[in-house]
Every structure is written in C-alpha cells, then in structure tokens.
Symmetry: C2
Subunit: 427 residues, 2 copies
C-alpha cells in the first residue's frame, strides 16, 4: 500500500479517544511527514456523539454505527478505546478477521484474551499495537520488545498504577491516612468512584501479565500469581519505613531464576536510594534487567488523556511504517520451566502488629519466629502502656514467605495480639 492514504477508524470517543482526535488536530503534518503517507482519521464511532468533548472534529466523521468502521474496506487500522471485555473483544476480532490492524489501550482485554487475540491476528497477518495498555505514554513495551531484543530479560519490576502511587506518595508527604487521601484522589479524578480495581492491584496485575508475556514469553493468568493491594498500609507503616531510609511502593514484579518465573504484585519497601523511590504521584516507572544491558528504567505519565493518546497514535505510525515486519511479541516460552508460588519467595520482611504491653508477650512472638528460622534485624515498639495494645514494627533478615505466613498465622492466634498482622516485602 505504498503511498496510498492510510485510513484509521476510532471506536470509543471517551477521554483517550478525544486525546487521539486532539493529537491528530495538533500534529497531523508531523505524523504524515514521519510516515511519508497521508493519514486520515476517517471515522469516530461512539454510542454518544452528542456530548461536546472539547476537541474539534468534523461532525461528518462521527457515527453511532460500529459497522461504519468494521465494514469499511478502506479502513486499514482500527483503534479500540471502549475498554472492558465486550463488545470490545467482538469488535477487535471482527476487525482482525477483515484484515485490519488493531491498536488498543485495553489491558483488561489483553490480559484475559491474549491468546485468542494474538492467534487470530497471526492467522490474519495483521498487527496489534498495545503500547498504551501499560505505562500510558511511556515508551515501554516497544523498548522492551525491540530495543532490548538482544537480551535475555531477567527481571521487570516497577510502579504501573498511578492511582496507588498517588495515594502512597500523598500519605508519605502529607501524613494523611489512606481514606483521606483516597477521597482527595477521587475528588481530583485520580481515582475512580469505585477504586477497587486500582487499590487492590487488579489493574497492576493485568499490566504485569502483558509485561511478563513480552519479557519472558509466557502468558500467565491472573489467578496464577499473588496479587495484594495497598488498602492495609497505614501511616505508621510509612513512618517506620522512613526511619529505615525507605518508602513503600506498590510494585509489579516478574523475575526469572533458573527457569523459574516469579510473578507478584504487592506493597514493597524500597530503599530511598533506589530510583523507584523517586517515582512519585501519578507517575509510573519500570525497571527492566537484561543479561546484556544490565538495568534500565523507563519513567513517565502512566495514564491520562494526552499521554495515552501519544502511545496510541505512535502505535498507528509504527504499524503504517512496519507493515512488512514479522509479527512477534516477546521471546519464545522455552526459558520458563515453572511458575513459582508466592510461598517460595525469599525476602526481608517488614511486620507490624498490635500487642498487649505486658511481660512475656514479646517472648512468645520471638519464640514463634525463631521456631520458623526467622531472625529479626531491627525492632521498634511505639510507646509503652502496661495492659494496653501498642504497635510493634520489625524487619526480619532473609526469610521465606511460607515461614512468614506460618508465623503470622501463629502470632495472630496469640491472645495478646489484636487485629491482623501486616507484612511488607523489602525490595
């Protein structure tokens, strides 16, 4: 299709969709100069085409009928930005079956239907662009999949949910507790009315599935790995982390060792000297370790109308330029022999519990820990009040998750312990 005009159809005229329209309004000529073709955003489909999105668009381009895109043989690339599983999946599969390339920011759909989407795309020899699905506008998936292609990837870990990172940052900076900050984030539009998806780690997990596929060649379903949110983190935890020269970040982690893949999402203590400790507010940052390159990090806005649109339009340009390239995402799966269970992981652990301040209590706890080969590196008790419950914080030396969980179970059974025991892994 050399020199032929490229036609693009956009399904979903919401926030990101409006960003895509605005990007073409701003940079049409830059885009066309770069790909050396005319590029035409031909049709924009949404159920609601009445509401003013605040971006200029020729009303003739708007339609409520998705078939104006899916059934138009002149449309080469379909951008799917309606999100969710259905009808997004149906639209994507139809577009692919008609030989159209697809660009999407839909991490939920890719995380759940990766195999079906990619196999159908392979059969129809079309490309799927999904840079926007992880890390918003940050160049992340393309560098991982292309720039670092000469590497065996050894680890990917980072902050890939802006809402959770905003909450943890504000808690640390302004000494506000979780619920106060969450409310503020909701008021500012950084958190959804129902924030479960972000603060319980599901969004992070979906993105990690995509990163893991690109880095290690393995598609791991969310049920197969440990996902833990940030809802139990209190100001006390954050304060104690500070005393240790650390901060608490919500990390997505995927590492390989001797063929064993370790995938998990949980709050993690990060040394303040680590660059991830400086990734604050709604920003994202992802470390990638390759056997040849060593450590690299990509940082930037992990969400938002314009940043995400930058990745969506970048993907379209990539597809226009790369029609002839072989279609591969990530290395072959052969390096992975087994996916590890969270029980097997080893780390230093931070633990917090509320204990009755009376003689013998600490002894009972230390006996449990020592029974399970857990030794304590540092220990802190906040205040003394005989006969009352006081918070205790400790950091262990290297221990296995299995033993930590067993210790927590036993400690929680003690009558002198109130509430659940919280533990956080150290990076």
């Amino acid at each position: 299709m050399a020199n032929k005009e490229v036609n693009i159809g956009l399904i979903g005229f919401g926030t990101i969709g409006s960003g895509v329209v605005e990007t073409f309004n701003l940079n049409q000529s830059i885009i066309e100069d770069k790909v050396k073709r005319k590029v035409n955003l031909k049709k924009v489909v949404d159920l609601d085409i009445e509401t003013d999105r605040g971006v200029k668009i020729d009303p003739e381009k708007l339609s409520t009928d998705v078939n104006d895109i899916l059934e138009d043989p002149d449309i080469d690339i379909v951008i799917e930005l309606i999100g969710g599983y259905q009808p997004a999946l149906k639209f994507i599969l139809t577009a692919i079956s008609k030989g159209k390339h697809v660009v999407t920011a839909n991490k939920a759909l890719l995380a759940k239907h990766w195999e079906e989407v990619m196999e159908t795309a392979g059969e129809n020899q079309v490309r799927i662009g999904f840079e926007a699905s992880v890390g918003g506008g940050i160049p992340l998936l393309k560098p991982l999949n292309e720039s670092l292609a000469a590497n065996k990837i050894e680890a990917i870990y980072g902050i890939i949910n802006g809402t959770a990172n905003y909450i943890l940052t504000k808690m640390a900076d302004e000494q506000q507790d979780f619920h106060e900050v969450l409310k503020e984030a909701q008021d500012k539009g950084y958190a959804e009315a129902d924030p479960t998806f972000d603060i319980e780690g599901h969004d992070t997990a979906q993105k990690l599935i995509i990163l893991t596929k690109l880095g290690f060649g393995v598609y791991v379903k969310q049920e197969k790995f440990h996902v833990e949110g940030i809802t139990r983190i209190t100001l006390d935890d954050i304060e104690y982390a500070k005393e240790l020269g650390c901060c608490i970040k919500h990390l997505a982690i995927s590492t390989i060792n001797d063929g064993e893949l370790d995938v998990r999402v949980h709050p993690t203590m990060v040394d303040n000297k680590h660059l991830l400790a400086s990734v604050n507010d709604v920003f994202n940052g992802v470390y990638i370790i390759g056997d040849v390159v060593g450590h690299v990090m990509m940082y930037g806005p992990g969400a938002g109308m314009m940043p995400t649109a930058s990745a969506v339009v970048g993907d379209c340009m990539d597809i226009i330029e790369e029609m002839g390239r072989p279609i591969t995402y990530g290395p072959p799966e052969t390096r992975v022999t087994r996916i590890k269970n969270i029980d097997e992981m080893e780390s230093k652990y931070y633990m917090r519990f509320a204990v009755m301040d009376k003689p013998g209590v600490l002894h009972a706890i230390s006996e449990i820990l020592s029974d399970l080969d857990i030794s304590v590196d540092s220990f802190n008790q906040k205040g003394h009040e005989e006969g009352k419950f006081v918070p205790i914080f400790l950091v262990t030396h290297q221990a296995t998750e299995k033993n930590i969980r067993e210790a927590v179970k036993r400690i929680e059974k003690l009558e002198t312990i109130k509430d659940e025991v919280l533990f956080i892994r150290l990076l």
Copy 2:
C-alpha cells in the same frame, strides 16, 4: 531476503566489539527466534587479532583485512566499532556504497559527518543504526524517534556522560575534591588517561547533536552552541548546592520555544526532588518532553562493554526486521526558525567568588548586579576574616546570561575579588 541467512561483519574487536561477540555467544538463539532468520556473525576484523579478549570466537572468523567485510557480497550488515573519524568514515561510506546496512556507536563521527553519512545512506537505501551512540544500552534514540513520533518534541535534557556524572556524584557523596575523584575514576577505568573529552563536555556535546537532530530535525554543529565542562566545580559549590536542596549535574539541554532552538551543555543546579538528581554514578538519564505525552525519562547504563553491545545488536535485529521501512531520522526541520545564542538564555544563576572581607566590597558587587537588573534571591558568606579573601555564594532571581556574563566581567575587575567568578545555571 526473506528467510535467507543474515551475515554480519564487525570492524573493531575492542571493548564494545568483544561485547558484541559475547552477546552473540550468549543469545544467538534468542536473537534468531526473534527475527525469524539465521543470523551469522561472519567476520571480525581488527589490526590486532592476537590479543585474548576473554570471549570465545572461532579463529577462522578473525581477519586483519577490512576488505574481508567490505568486499564480501554476502555481508548484509557492517558494525563499525573502531571509533574516531578516520578510517571509520571511509569504511562506513564504502559499506553503504556497497548496499550494506551500518550499525555504529561512533558519536564523534556522526556528530561531525551526520549529513554525509545520512545522505549517502539515503541514496543507497540502506539503514544506519546508532542507538549505541547516545546513552549506551539505554533504549533512547528509538523511543525518541519512533515511540514518541506523534509528538512535537519540546525539550530534551539529561545526563549523557557517565564519567562526568561519576565525578560529580563522588564529590558530593564523599566530600572529595575534583582532582582526587578524577584520579580515582581513572584508576577504576571510568575515566580516560586524558579525560578532557569527557570532563570538558565534548562527548556530551556530540551526543546532544544526535539527540537534537532526532528531536528537532536540525543538525547543529558543535561550534554553534555553548559547551562548558565540570572542571571548575569545587566542593564548596556542591556543599552550597546541598544547602539549597540541590545537586550539581552536568546537563545536555536542547529546547525549542517559538521556533527558537536553545542548545547547550553546562553544569546545572538540579533540585533534589527532580528525578535527574537521583541519576548517580556512571548512569545516564534523559528527559524528553513532548507536546502530547508530557515528560518521560529513560535511565540506565550510558556506557560499558555489554550495555553498549546490547544496543548494537538490538540495532542489527531492528535492521533485519525492518528492511522495508521508510528511512527517516527525526522530524523535518521546518519547526526551527533560529538557533539561540547562549547570551539570550534566562535562568536563575548560582555565583561563587572570593572577595576581600572589608567594608564596601559587597556594596560594589550589589551595585554591579543591580545595574544589570540582576536581583539576589539568597546569599551566603563562608567565614569572616577582615582583610582576607573569603568565598561568597549567591543565587539570583531570573536573569539573562548576557547580563550575568557582563556582571562577571565587571566583578572580576574589582580589586577586592580574587580568581575567576564561577556561575552555574539552575534547572
């Protein structure tokens, strides 16, 4: 050339060249799986093929005759890693004229001969891979040129010389002075025996020329912009920066405003809250601001045998996969109307001078500053000793470089001032 084996010839079996050989030793199968071709590092040429580089290589692949690569019609890609201007340029132009793609890490050559190399490549429809020329193993040029292609780039600034960054980091961390740290860096192999190139900013300037071309479409020769090294920075400057909540970093900066391009290399005060303040030791970090994406940063090892080899081999894989793509580097030049002179820049400035501690001296200085519309934001004098020279540090409000330079000239003429006045721009 679908499914045909790809043959690569490597000119230069030094540090990076050995890294390239080792990368193929480590990851040949990963590389071939990814590009879906056989890839053969067919020939390695160097004047010295006797010295043991510590990497395994079939002796039959070694040769001292560059024509074994340049004249071999089966070789598709030539990797040039001898560095310097000649004979590297001759080899590259010959390879291009024979229809061979070229991968190089040679920033000096590209910065000086950009137009000749790229025009010749365009005429011969071959690709030039040069990711390794800036930021070593960091995915940087490809994200800038491809992932962010939907953006008008507004600014590129960062730390792109590991030696200078190592020196500034160690000075700050260990309170050692410039010459001590430089010697230590030389002992560790982080600095050359003749370190001029790194510490005076020439290496940074060459890399900035390449970044500027990719970001703004303009090829700016080094004579056209301000390049200032780090040799005048003392421990006192670093200490005072700390008091201001800052650190001193050696930055390459290229920004555009109303068509006016502002390109410069100089030490800069960076707020500790800025992520670049956490880019330490030999690491590099580059911020890119696009009109659509906002701020992103790429971070990683900016030099070294294996990191640089990661970029070189990644470029080879890119070329193998992208034979059919249009060849463009950066946007068209039309956005730039003028390249600004350093005199026109505006910033807050840090200034340091040694003044005679006696009445009236400060008044003379403040008169000069006020005459030139420079107002002082903070001021600090270290110690008092009537009749002796004591160091004075100050930070100005926003001022023009032209006025600052005039002020420095006038202040240096005062009899009560010893040595040159140092000034550092704030980020």
